[in-house]
């Protein structure tokens, strides 16, 4: 998988490149719009990460250029601007996702993975980790064949964690997906729900599935990975 990163802030660029390479992606990082345009014309990318405030050609112009080429490549916008008008404008120009700075790398990674697997999305009705089973259609959760009763919020939370098995999800992301925008900033509600979920899912079992990554968020998976 090859990713083009257009970001003029050198340090931001550096940690993204390092992180993505560690995840096994090939990354080309450029620092201005014009070079970005050249790279995009010369090579074929699976994903473009685009900062909006660029010297020369702006991110929005580059995005429009990419879309004029009628490419299907997914584009993720990284920006320090978060006005609703900006967002709408860029989605109209063909952005696939939008991430406002400051973001956590874990969040960027989850979004990149979501965009890359867009084609064959895992729509299977039953999600499994080890002996934990979540049935999306029947709205049921079992562990070791024993039924676990969850409230609908707890179910949504577990479902979101399991869809992203192995990935660290930040509290902000969890809130955005399971609650709504108004709960932004109220991260302790996530902690409370995770605690309840642990009580029901992990407490009576030797093998703990839900893991806390302090300062970042939560993830679910085997061996805490």
């Amino acid at each position: 998988m090859r990713i083009l990163l257009v970001e003029d802030e050198e340090k931001v660029s550096r940690f993204i490149v390092r992180g993505l390479k560690a995840e096994g992606y090939a990354v080309d990082a450029v620092s201005d719009g014009k070079t970005g345009q050249e790279y995009h014309s010369s090579y074929s990318y699976d994903l473009v990460l685009l900062d909006l405030n660029l010297p020369g050609i702006t991110g929005t112009e580059l995005l429009q250029h990419i879309r004029r080429g009628n490419t299907k490549v997914p584009v993720l916008i990284l920006t320090a601007r978060d006005g609703i008008a900006d967002k709408v404008h860029n989605f109209e120009s063909g952005a696939d996702d939008y991430l406002t700075k400051p973001f956590s790398f874990a969040e960027l990674l989850v979004r990149i993975k979501a965009l890359l697997r867009r084609g064959p999305v895992d729509r299977s009705s039953v999600l499994r980790i080890s002996d934990l089973e979540l049935d999306r259609v029947a709205h049921q959760v079992r562990r070791q064949e024993k039924r676990i009763e969850l409230t609908s919020k707890e179910f949504s939370l577990l479902e979101y964690l399991m869809v992203n098995t192995g990935r660290v999800l930040s509290r902000t992301m969890i809130i955005e997906h399971v609650w709504d925008q108004s709960f932004e900033g109220l991260t302790n509600i996530v902690d409370v729900y995770i605690r309840q979920l642990r009580k029901k899912v992990d407490e009576t079992h030797e093998q703990k599935l839900i893991r806390t990554v302090r300062g970042v968020g939560y993830s679910i998976g085997l061996n805490g990975a």
């Binding site: 320090a80 700075k101 400051p102 790398f105 709504d180 108004s182 109220l186 991260t187 509600i189 409370v192």
Partner: protein, 482 residues
Amino acid sequence: MKHPRSIRARLITLYVVSLLLIFVCFGGYTYWGFKRYLIQSLQQTLLRRAHQIASTILVDLPQKGENYVATEIQARYAPELNERFIRITDPSGRIVYTSHNASELSPPPVLLSSGSQVETEPIRREEIPRSKEYLQVVAIGYRIGKGAPYIVEVGGPESEIFTALDGLLVTLILGFPVFIVLTSVGAYLLLGRALRPVDEIVRSAERITLQNLSLRLPVPATGDEVERLSLALNRMIQRLDNAFQLTSRFTADASHELRTPLTIMRGELEALLKEGKLSEDQMAQIESVLEEAERLTHIVEGLLLMSRLEAGESQMVKDPVDFATLVCTTAEQMTPLAEDKSVSLDCEAAPDVTVMANEIRLKQVVINLLDNAIKYTPEGGKITVKVTGELSWAILEVRDNGIGISEEALPHVFERFYRSEQVQARKARGTGLGLSMVHSILEAHGGAVAVESRENQGAMFRVRLPRLEPQGARKRNNTRAE
């Protein structure tokens, strides 16, 4: 109750009181002057008569004798009929002639002048003959030939003068209230006219808030103090506007500028954490820094949101929102947080309370208030949420029986980053923006928030939002209008 003090009322009172004084002075002066004038003119008439008597009748005394004098005076002046008093005394003090009604007059004055003129200077006096009215008497000396003068005295009653003066007094007293009423009404109208621009300035000034600092006061083109006042106020509003925009832009710019460094910090730290090459202690340190970075992120977001709200967030889309449902659903979503602390959270809502609002922001208000209540209510506490509808307001009350707010802290709870000593003592962590965000959001919706609390006796936050007229009522009104 404090009475509203108005310049108009004060000026009118002052004006009427001074007019009253002026009127009383003027009336007194008129009365006195008029009386003086009447007495003088009476005295002059009397003097003229004395001269006439002396020069036309008395002069013939040596030739025609005393009887002639008496007959002539009776015939020409008929003193009894005209209520005149006439008396003539010879130099030895013997009475030559006296009208019947002059018998009660006091003796004639001693004339000091003994020069050689025919007539002496007149002497005027006022007398009150027994049981009679006031009299004015004029006496002159008249020489016939050589030797001491005869004394001619002529008197007349003052009753006519007093009749005239009484008439004047009645006119003045009757005119007085009419005069006062007329001038008061006139003053009221005139002052109203003069002060109307001030009223307009007051009304416009009341409409100007932080959300519409671009508004200006009307400037009446009168060229007077009022015009200068409104121009000066407008310049002041302009300066406020500039200063406020500067602060707001600064907050927004600063928050934006903080975003990139924050991104880098979080990215680098997460990378370190992920590599896992550090010792347990070092990892814990990095985790702690990451937590702080996240808090900082929330503060930056909060500040940005508030500066946008203060700038009147033009993009804020407002829809009719069922307030009761929104509040109780949110309360339900927050219940796990309360239960986690063994605090009970109840929601009680009147149906049909609709407000025009941005749902996300309004929900944020409820969340922040509840989060606050949960944070400061100890275990086993109780939080009650209540939505009611008043005539044109939707009311939300969030009441808890927690630690409350001290008297010193109460006026400041809606300020950004304000931390009371109580909060500091409890080491509660937050952005310090929750309640000021509530305040900003409500302001942007034309609503308000107030708090009542006493230390250790819980707190009650009361939110007020303009209520949308219920549909039924609107329909009824329409039918009535048709």
